[in-house]
Symmetry: C2
Subunit: 216 residues, 2 copies
């Protein structure tokens, strides 16, 4: 196992090198990049669909959509108006790594892009370890998946700058407690900025859109 | 990367060896074992809580509850009446492996046990690769997390014997389509047995309990 860990450390340091190159390149191009992470089905693609619909005429956005299999998410984002959407099918890998992202970026025309979204594989554990050269990780959590998630998957919430608590239209239909999830998240990372949204009803999305507009 | 893959294959084959020992030992003791896998927050612990409440006087059950951090799930299971509950805190690892399970089993008195539940880390990707010596993987999917999950995370559904579609009380409140998720799951694995449950309302749990009673 020691051998495995050493090799993994080597892979991660190789990853960090590529991530640093991506970060430098994005900075030169004045592109802000956000790495969206969450459990499967928390609403990453839905949030990006809504964001495209709202902001596509105001902000030039590029999107990378990672999945273990299928290009379903990328197709949804194209349908929502994304004119620069690049799917990455990991073919089994449980996370995106910097090399995959660098390759995808090489195939995209980033000249006018101001904002890059990277939608990671749905997984609340492994993507936390892989720097993709993003400016910030945005962790989604849905109001149906349990308010103790920040405590049980702390690495992700420690490394995120933002959490989006999504599906708030379903609050009250489970034991999920909004105050408790916030308390748990802030206990892990006191600097987290928190949004509360429902991609279904649109509730709370305005604040997210405003924040993005201010960002770029 | 080749080197990493080789090491991983070695780790997996070491894992399979330990898993085979667990399987042999469980067979000798006449214990049926189920490995519960799902996204974070699909309801693995809730299903086990309900199962303990219903069957604890009829079937002698042991439970292993895996989490990246916290013993929250194990504590919930003890509160629900589990008198043989063993937590495994992986401390970062994204899955249980056979070695962790073997160690936990060594510390449990299995003499009268008929049914062993192993609650895996909430992760729809990595736990699919690790045989824990179980008789069957039971994959949960909640009716709020998207009906294309079997297509996007096929390995898990290919290796499962059963899927439990949970939170059916929330059907109709999202785009989740029951027929579509079943079709998608059966497209990946035509042998899947499917249960539909709500741990919140109790709907559908009787069939699950009946199936467990018949199993032991």
């Amino acid at each position: 196992m020691t051998q495995k860990i050493e090799i993994e450390e080597k892979v991660l340091s190789e990853n960090d090198k590529i991530a640093a190159e991506i970060r430098k390149r994005m900075k030169e191009k004045n592109i802000i990049s956000l790495n969206l992470v969450s459990s499967p089905g928390s609403g990453k693609t839905s949030l990006l669909e809504k964001t495209l619909s709202e902001l596509k005429d105001k902000i030039n956005m590029a999107l990378i959509a990672g999945d273990v299999q299928t290009e379903n998410d990328a197709n949804r984002l194209i349908k929502a108006g994304g004119n620069m959407v690049k799917p990455i099918v990991t073919g089994g890998a449980c996370h995106l790594d910097a090399k995959m992202v660098a390759q995808a970026l090489n195939e995209m025309n980033l000249d006018k892009v101001k904002l890059l979204f990277i939608e990671n594989v749905g997984n609340l554990v492994c993507p936390s370890s892989y720097d993709l050269g993003e400016d910030m990780k945005v962790a989604l959590i849905s109001a149906t998946e349990g308010d103790d998630k920040p405590l049980k998957y702390p690495a992700m919430f420690r490394r995120a700058g933002i959490i989006v608590i999504n599906k708030i239209d379903l609050l009250g239909l489970s034991d999920f407690d909004m105050d408790r999830v916030k308390k748990n998240a802030l206990q892990i990372n006191g600097n987290l900025k928190i949004f509360e949204t429902s991609c279904r009803t649109g509730a709370g999305l305005d604040k997210w859109f405003d924040w993005l507009r201010n960002l770029v």
